[in-house]
């Protein structure tokens, strides 16, 4: 068995497989390892993502597209809704099939893929990461590599082994729970993804989503702030919501999970190692969507890595261009989304209800985000103070 590569990628989620695809395409010798016995199982996701990013990595295939949606709806606790078009066309994935297809794509373009293979430690030489220690199909051995990529998801430990600080504060970590429900036809518009917000009665510090997976089934899930889960668990909050809103439905599957919503780590590289995806906290710091962002992070990382490996310099100084690329593209926007989450979690439920009620009467589809914000500020001057944060981060009025 081969035990020496240009790049070893740890974790075959969307970010790891996307990294493997890009690295192999640019001619590097790549190994992608995954500790689970089957890629993509169990699912830890609500499965909504955008077509545009997805199809840059893999040709669209109906095998893993469960459903398509046209609009997003933000719904308050009393049922008013604001309907907005997505910034890019949204699909509902069948992630079990998608994750496996993406890893298979990596194999097709030349990467070696090994499941049931866990990284259990790093190899170091003179302060530089030189590979991983693995346990694979019951055997332990070392795999040497010029570069290691940590794409090991929310439970990431690989970067910590290299001394990077990756532990999020509980206030910036979402814990989540989800049911796939059937019998939903009477309760939803199958063309709309819904976000239900209400800090007191729905989801403290987070939201509930109803994402249709077909005409009669949907992923209905919750995230709440990890610092607000001590008394009542995410599971219990979600059960209460489903009992109240969707009586009589059946449960087809259950998902539990967590996602960092800090915004991407400042430090995403060290000598001989890069971090991508959830492991690098690249998910959207408001919605926690991380499939596309992780794939884009992987792409940026590999564009820098290819040159670094070919030139034989994988020092942090050289790999750091990846951090610059990320922060240039997403830094400002994610700082703004982070502020929006903080503002929402401080707003009391009545205030938020009034805001949504007002917005639900505006012709949103014809307005720019700036016009919408100004209109809301006129009616709710108390928001001016909060909006200051957003304006300074440049999100709203550009």
């Amino acid at each position: 068995m081969k035990t020496s590569y240009d790049v070893v990628i740890v974790g075959a989620g969307p970010a790891g497989s996307a990294a493997a695809i890009r690295a192999a395409e640019s001619g590097l010798d790549v190994l992608l390892i995954e500790k689970r016995q089957e890629i993509g199982v169990p699912v830890r996701c609500a499965e909504a993502t955008d077509i545009e990013t997805t199809e840059r990595f893999i040709p669209l295939n109906e095998r893993w597209i469960a459903h398509r949606v046209q609009r997003y709806a933000i719904v308050n606790a009393v049922g008013d809704r604001v309907i907005v078009p997505p910034t890019s066309e949204t699909i509902m994935l069948d992630r079990k099939v998608f994750d496996a297809a993406l890893a298979e794509r990596a194999a097709q373009v030349g990467a070696d893929v090994r499941v049931s293979t866990a990284a259990v430690g790093l190899l170091h030489d003179n302060g530089t990461v030189k590979g991983v220690k693995v346990k694979s199909l019951g055997r332990a051995y070392d795999v040497r590599a010029r570069l290691v990529v940590a794409s090991d998801g929310t439970e990431s430990q690989v970067a910590r082994w290299a001394g990077l600080k990756t532990i999020p504060p509980l206030a910036d970590y979402y814990v989540g729970f989800q049911f796939t429900l059937s019998g939903m036809a009477a309760y939803m518009n199958p063309a709309h993804c819904e976000y239900h917000v209400g800090v007191e009665t729905i989801a403290p510090g987070g939201y509930v989503w109803t994402f249709p997976k077909g005409e009669d089934s949907a992923n209905v899930g919750i995230v709440i702030g990890a610092n607000q889960a001590r008394e009542v668990s995410a599971q219990t909050w979600l059960e209460r919501f489903v009992e109240r809103r969707y009586p009589g439905v059946s449960m087809l599957s259950v998902v539990s999970g967590g996602i960092p919503v800090t915004g991407a780590l400042k430090q995403m590289v060290t000598n001989g190692l890069m971090i991508v995806g959830d492991a690098a906290h690249q998910a959207d710091p408001l919605t926690a969507g991380g499939i596309s962002l992780g794939m884009m992070g992987a792409e940026m990382a590999m564009s820098v890595a290819t040159q670094a490996v070919q030139q034989g310099d994988v020092s942090a100084r050289c790999l750091r261009d990846y951090e610059h690329l990320w922060h240039e593209r997403f830094g400002k926007m994610h700082a703004a989304l982070y502020s929006v989450r903080k503002i929402l979690s401080r707003m009391d439920e009545k205030q938020f209800d009034a805001l949504v009620e007002h917005a639900s009467r505006l012709p949103i589809e014809t307005m720019t985000p700036g016009e919408i914000m100004l209109e809301l500020l006129k009616a709710h001057p108390k928001l001016l103070l909060e909006a200051g944060t957003l304006i300074t981060t440049g999100l709203v009025l550009k």
Binding site: T154, A229, Q235
Partner: protein
């Protein structure tokens, strides 16, 4: 057996494997990196766990508890 820095712990992290979904959320927030998902089974390193309670407070299904050692032994 339950010593760290010469200190005797009176509690121990108890994982309810019937409830746990092996989602890894607790692993993400553990400061001393004492939790580990081996394939899909959550394990705790009792020698490094500081009993800080972070994982207990945030688990999406409340599958974790700091339990008095005597009640586990008996």
């Amino acid at each position: 057996m339950f010593r760290r820095n010469g200190q005797q712990h009176v509690t121990r992290l108890d994982i309810d494997h019937d409830k746990c979904y092996s989602c890894g959320a607790c692993v993400a927030v553990c400061p001393p990196d004492s939790l580990f998902l081996s394939k899909l089974t959550l394990q705790v390193d009792d020698t490094t766990c500081t009993r800080c309670n972070r994982c207990v407070a945030m688990c999406p299904v409340h599958a974790l508890a700091l339990t008095p050692v005597e009640s586990l032994v008996s």
